[in-house]
C-alpha cells in the first residue's frame, strides 16, 4: 500500500469538499445559513454528467452544474432574505427539492455509459519535488488545481479587499452595513448564489473527475453535510477550510483503500480478513465529523470568534438589534 498514492487520491476527493465548504463559507459569511448543500451538490453532479453525455463537452457540463445549482440556491435566498422565513427549514426543504429533482432528471443516467472527463495533467517542475510533488502536482484533475487557486483567492477576497469587507459587514452587522449604503439584500442574494455555484462545482467534480458517473443519491453520500460541518470546524476561514477538506478527503480514500491489501505494515491486514470491520471503518468520517464539531465548537466558544454575528437572522430594515 503506497501512502503517496492514497494521499494523491485523497487530495482529489478532498477537492469536492473544498468547493462545497468554501461555497457555504461565503454564504454564511454573508449571514445566510444554507443547509441545502447536499441537494445543490446532487443537482450539480447530475446536470454536469447529463450535459456531458449530451454534448460530449465536460466544460459545458461544469458550466451547467454551476448555473443550475446557483439557480436552485436562489429559491432559498428568496425565502430567507425576502420572505424572512426560517433558514433551517428552508435549507432542509432545498435538500429535499434538490435530491428529488436530481433523482427524477437523473433516472436512467447511471446506465448511460462513460463520458469524456475533465483533463488530468502534471505541473512541470513542481511535480519533481520529492513526495509532495507526487501528492499534489502529479496527474491531478484540472479542478484540483482550480481548488489550489481558490483557497488563497477566497482568503484574500474576504480579508483584504473592499467587497470582502462589505461581505463581512453584511454578515456581522447588517444594519450598520445598510447605513453605509451597502445593499444588504442584494449582497446576500449574490453570496448565496456564489455558494450554490460552488456546491454545483463540487457536484461536477464528483461526477466528472473524482468518481465519474451518476449513482443517484449515493453520488454525494452525505458530503454536503460534512461540508457544513467543516465550515464550523474552519471557523469561517478559507485556509482552515482547505486543511479540513483535504484531511477528510484523505481519510475517505484511506478507508476505501485500507481494505484491499493482504498485508498492512508487515502484519496480516485485519480489515481484509474480517470484512465486518469495514462497516466500522465507514463510520469513521462521520464519527470524525462529530469529534471535529466538538473540538471546533468549544474552541469557537472559548475564543468568541468565528460565527458571523448575524448568521441565521433575517435582516429586516428598521428593526433594532439585528
Amino acid at each position: 500500500m503506497d501512502f503517496t498514492i492514497i494521499l494523491q487520491a485523497g487530495i482529489a476527493s478532498g477537492t469536492v469538499l473544498l468547493f462545497a465548504t468554501i461555497g457555504e463559507l461565503f454564504s454564511e459569511r454573508a449571514g445566510v445559513l444554507n443547509l441545502g448543500v447536499e441537494g445543490m451538490m446532487l443537482v450539480g453532479a447530475m446536470s454536469a454528467f447529463s450535459t456531458t453525455i449530451a454534448t460530449g463537452n465536460p466544460w459545458l457540463g461544469v458550466m451547467t452544474a454551476m448555473l443550475f445549482a446557483g439557480i436552485i440556491s436562489q429559491i432559498h435566498a428568496y425565502i430567507v432574505i425576502t420572505l424572512q422565513a426560517d433558514q433551517v427549514v428552508s435549507g432542509l426543504s432545498l435538500t429535499f427539492l434538490g435530491t428529488g429533482i436530481s433523482l427524477v432528471l437523473g433516472e436512467g443516467l447511471s446506465k448511460a455509459g462513460t463520458v469524456s472527463l475533465l483533463p488530468n495533467f502534471s505541473i512541470p517542475l513542481l511535480a519533481q519535488i520529492p513526495i509532495l510533488g507526487k501528492i499534489f502536482f502529479t496527474d491531478q484533475s484540472i479542478l484540483v488545481y482550480v481548488g489550489y487557486l481558490l483557497v488563497p483567492l477566497a482568503w484574500f477576497y474576504i480579508n483584504r479587499t473592499r467587497p470582502g469587507l462589505h461581505l463581512r459587514a453584511v454578515g456581522e452587522y447588517p444594519s450598520a452595513a445598510d447605513a453605509l449604503g451597502i445593499n444588504v439584500f442584494r449582497m446576500r442574494y449574490f453570496y448565496v448564489f456564489v455558494g450554490g455555484m460552488l456546491a454545483g462545482l463540487a457536484g461536477a467534480t464528483i461526477s466528472l473527475a473524482v468518481s465519474p458517473g451518476w449513482f443517484s443519491e449515493l453520488t454525494t453520500g452525505g458530503q454536503g453535510w460534512i461540508a457544513i460541518g467543516l465550515v464550523i470546524f474552519a471557523q469561517w476561514d478559507p485556509i482552515r477550510a482547505a486543511v479540513g477538506a483535504y484531511a477528510f478527503g484523505a481519510l475517505r480514500r484511506l478507508i476505501l483503500d485500507i481494505q484491499g491489501p493482504l498485508l498492512l505494515l508487515g502484519f496480516d491486514n485485519p480489515f481484509y480478513y474480517n470484512p465486518y470491520l469495514g462497516f466500522f471503518l465507514q463510520m469513521l468520517p462521520y464519527l470524525f465529523t462529530v469529534v471535529v464539531l466538538v473540538i471546533g465548537s468549544r474552541e469557537a466558544m472559548r475564543k468568541r470568534i468565528g460565527a458571523p454575528a448575524a448568521l441565521g437572522n433575517p435582516y429586516i430594515r428598521g428593526e433594532r438589534g439585528k
Binding site: I79, V88, S93, G100, L103, F279, Y286
Partner: protein
C-alpha cells in the same frame, strides 16, 4: 364594546384563512409539479389521477396510505416536540434504525414469553433505542454546543453502518448465514409477536397507537410543566434561564423524546409491516425515508401534534400514490421527493404571509382605542417554529 366584538369576529375569520394556508401551499406545489410533469412529456391530469387512485382508489389503497402514514406520524410527533424546543432533529432515520434494531433483538431473543408481553417490551425497547440515539446529539448540543443538525445527520450515517454490520454479522438470519447469497436480514418474528391487523388489509395496531400518542403529545406540550418548559426554552432560552429553568436539561430532553418517537416508528415498522429487519445498504431501504418525510409532515401540520395526523396521511398518500403514478405514466417516483420539498418551500413561504397578516391585525388592534390586550404574542408562542 361593538368595536371589540367586531375585531374578534374578523380575527376568527383570519384565523380560518391562516389554517387554510397549508392547503394553498399543497395546491401550489402540485401545480408546479404539474409543470414538471408537463416538461417530462406526461399528461399531468392522468398522472395525478393515477396518484389519487393509488392512494385512495380502494380500501386496500387507503389502508396502504395509512400504513405509510403511521411512521410519518410517529416521527412527526417527535419533531413537534424537538422543533418546539428549538432543537432541529434531522436524525429520524438513524433513530428509527436503532429503535428497530433493539426492538427486533427483544423480539428474537425472548421467544419463550407471552406475545403481548414481548410486543410491549419490544415497543419500549424501540422507544429507548431512539431515545439513546437522539439523546447523544442532545448532550453534545447542551454541554458541548455542537450543532445538532449536523450531529444528527452524522448519527444517521453511523446507524446505517451499524445496521449493515449487525444484519450481516451477529443478527443475520441463521438460514441465510448458511446460504452463499447471505441476504442481510434478521430471522422472521414469531407470528404471535406481530402487531395485530385491524382489517383484512395491512393496516396494523401501530396506526392506532400513533393517533393515541398524538393526543398524548398534545397534552404533554400544552398541559404539563415539562412541555411548557420545553416550549419556553425553545422560545427564549435566556428568559427561561432567568426563570430558573435548567435550559441544558430541557434541550437534552427535547432531543431524547424526539428520538424516542422515531425509535418507536422503527419498531412498529418491524412488528407491524415487515416482521423482520432487512437492509439494502442505505437507510431509506429500511425506513422508506420516513425519518425525513416525518419532518415534512410535522412542519406541514404546523408543529401541532393533532394537525400532524392529517398531514401524515397526506404525505403517506403522496408516497403510495407515487408508486402507482410510476407504473401508469412512467414517471420516476422520486418526483414525490421533489414535490415534498416544494410543499415545504411553500409552507415556509406562507409563514411570511401569516406573519404579515398578524402584524396588520396588531396594527388594526392598536388603532382601536379600547382594544384589549392582544392575544397575538401568546399565539406566537404556540405557532412559532
Amino acid at each position: 364594546m361593538p368595536a371589540m366584538k367586531k375585531f374578534f369576529q374578523s380575527d376568527g375569520l383570519s384565523r380560518l384563512v391562516d389554517s387554510l394556508l397549508p392547503i394553498f401551499a399543497t395546491l401550489a406545489a402540485l401545480l408546479l409539479g404539474a409543470v414538471m410533469l408537463f416538461l417530462l412529456k406526461v399528461n399531468p391530469i392522468e398522472a395525478y389521477k393515477a396518484l389519487w387512485d393509488g392512494a385512495f382508489g380502494s380500501t386496500n389503497a387507503f389502508a396502504e396510505t395509512l400504513v405509510k402514514a403511521t411512521p410519518l406520524l410517529l416521527v412527526g410527533l417527535g419533531i413537534c416536540i424537538s422543533f418546539r424546543g428549538d432543537v432541529i432533529n434531522i436524525g429520524g432515520e438513524g433513530q428509527m434504525i436503532i429503535g428497530a434494531i433493539l426492538a427486533t433483538w427483544v423480539g428474537l431473543t425472548f421467544t419463550g414469553l407471552p406475545g403481548w408481553l414481548v410486543v410491549t417490551l419490544s415497543m419500549i425497547a424501540g422507544f429507548l433505542g431512539g431515545a439513546i440515539w437522539g439523546g447523544i446529539p442532545g448532550v453534545l448540543k447542551a454541554y458541548f454546543s455542537v450543532n445538532e443538525i449536523l450531529s444528527t445527520v452524522m448519527m444517521n450515517a453511523i446507524a446505517v453502518q451499524l445496521m449493515n454490520f449487525l444484519l450481516r454479522g451477529p443478527m443475520i438470519d441463521p438460514s441465510q448465514a448458511e446460504l452463499s447469497s447471505k441476504i442481510p436480514q434478521t430471522a422472521r418474528l414469531l407470528e404471535i409477536f406481530r402487531l395485530p391487523r385491524l382489517a383484512p388489509t395491512r393496516l396494523h395496531l401501530g396506526a392506532l397507537i400513533a393517533v393515541a400518542l398524538a393526543v398524548l403529545v398534545y397534552i404533554l406540550l400544552w398541559r404539563t410543566t415539562l412541555g411548557y418548559r420545553i416550549r419556553a426554552v425553545g422560545q427564549n432560552p435566556h428568559a427561561s434561564r432567568y426563570a430558573g429553568i435548567k435550559v441544558q436539561r430541557y434541550i437534552v430532553l427535547a432531543l431524547l423524546l424526539s428520538g424516542a418517537f422515531s425509535g418507536l416508528a422503527g419498531a412498529t415498522q418491524v412488528f407491524g409491516v415487515n416482521y423482520r429487519m432487512i437492509t439494502d445498504g442505505s437507510s431509506s431501504g429500511f425506513t422508506g425515508s420516513a425519518g425525513f418525510n416525518g419532518i415534512v409532515a410535522a412542519l406541514f401540520g404546523q408543529l401541532h401534534p393533532i394537525m400532524t395526523i392529517p398531514a401524515s396521511i397526506l404525505f403517506g398518500a403522496l408516497l403510495v400514490g407515487a408508486n402507482k403514478m410510476q407504473r401508469v405514466v412512467q414517471v420516476p417516483s422520486a418526483l414525490v421527493i421533489a414535490l415534498n420539498g416544494l410543499v415545504v418551500v411553500f409552507v415556509v413561504s406562507i409563514e411570511f404571509l401569516r406573519r404579515r397578516r398578524q402584524r396588520r391585525r396588531l396594527a388594526a388592534a392598536k388603532q382601536n382605542d379600547e382594544s384589549p390586550p392582544s392575544p397575538e404574542p401568546l399565539k406566537q408562542l404556540e405557532t412559532g417554529t
